[in-house]
């Protein structure tokens, strides 16, 4: 399978992190598994997801290595791989933030949000929170996912506001982010809204969060 095709099958774009790849693979594999109870069981689609994942996993694992380092609290400025980097170190975040908020291309905005999420820098929230007013659903989803990866605890109020005005895919992404951050950090209000949501998927995801 060609790389671009693999990304498409998994609903990702080039530059996706290993975490995102794993997440997309797991969700889709569950959905299409021939024994799945979702009613979408489809052996052929399942196989394609499997193939797509296998064709990308090695490459993505290596190129998101830097990002994984940042997650564990190691920083470039402290002698990381980019020691000789000329630009001011904070420039990465600022440039990504500018792309996220200014670019006209939704794919570029979504990718900037993903990379901010993989940066490990909580200060990225300055930009991600502004992206909550983006009109494109995929940008919203990427921004919410990034907030989850970065475990931003101050996001409860703003994610709640976004939850209220969003469609099902964004709502489910918000609940996934809460799962990562921890429901106890002020997110109970969103989860209780989720329990009363008209969509069954949102309700059951919220119920799982309540059970912990």
């Amino acid at each position: 399978m060609v790389k671009a095709e693999s990304y498409r099958v998994l609903g990702l774009s080039p530059g996706a992190t290993f975490e995102e790849l794993k997440h997309a693979y797991r969700m889709l594999a569950k959905e299409y598994h021939p024994d799945s109870r979702s009613g979408k069981g489809n052996a052929l689609a399942f196989l394609r997801v499997e193939q797509a994942y296998r064709s990308l996993v090695l490459e993505v694992k290596t190129h998101s290595h830097d990002a994984a380092d940042a997650h564990t609290g190691r920083y470039r400025a402290a002698g990381g791989p980019r020691q000789g980097h000329r630009e001011a170190p904070e420039a990465d975040i600022f440039n990504l933030g500018r792309t996220l908020l200014m670019s006209r291309d939704p794919a570029a905005r979504a990718s900037a949000a993903r990379r901010l999420g993989a940066s490990g820098k909580k200060s990225s929230y300055a930009f991600l929170r502004k992206a909550f007013s983006d009109r494109e659903e995929r940008v919203l989803i990427s921004a919410v996912r990034a907030v989850g990866y970065l475990q931003i605890r101050q996001s409860a109020g703003e994610l709640g506001s976004l939850f209220l005005k969003s469609g099902t895919p964004v709502k489910r992404e918000i609940l996934s982010a809460i799962h990562r951050i921890g429901i106890d950090f002020g997110f109970q209000g969103i989860v209780s809204l989720g329990l009363e949501d008209p969509d069954h998927g949102v309700r059951s995801q919220a119920a799982r969060l309540c059970r912990g």
Binding site: A88, E90, G120, K122, S123, Q154, G157, F163, G189
Partner: protein, 218 residues
Amino acid sequence: MTRVEAHGTGPRGTTASCSLGVEIDGGGFVRIIDEGAPLPAHESRFFTTISDFQTAVDVHVLCGRGRKVVSVGRFLLSGIRKGRKGMPRIEIGVDVDADGIIKASARDCDTGVVMESVFPHSSLSSGDENGRGTSAVSSRVFALIRRAREESASMGKRTHAGLLAEINELIAQSYAALASKDEQRITGCRTALETLLGEMHAVRKSAGSRARRGDRHG
């Protein structure tokens, strides 16, 4: 959400560069802190719901400068007492400290649920220091660095290692930005410092509420 009555006054200091308030039903702007109010300032007003059995209010914080009104941010208060429209009493507080960081909070007077959000000063799209050169922004950044140092000293070194490392790194970057006298870099560091201070505030608060969890759910 609609307003019911006015309440509260704040202490004295430097002054607010714009008025702060919230958007109400129909798109109106209700001022909570006036332009030119002494800082630090804290004011609150009471609001209520606009539909029957509404359980959440979306609070849209606005900043007004002259006739121009811009969005600061929004947050949701969920879990308010179910009642007829106009019955719940929701207190919206706005707090601006001497460094210009805005803290907005909403509290349902009946159930006691609270939600608050901290917004960086730079979320006001046109900064008050514009045109006053880098020196005003620089002195703010120095003040924020001092605060970030003080506040990070009181945080658990092991549990928040990542956050503390990021703060230390950012402080070093802020000094480098100040030395470069590049206004854009300094402003960027200011926003980053404010965002991390907001995160530290949330971390400290959640540590407190976790400890009190037993009686809150009682």
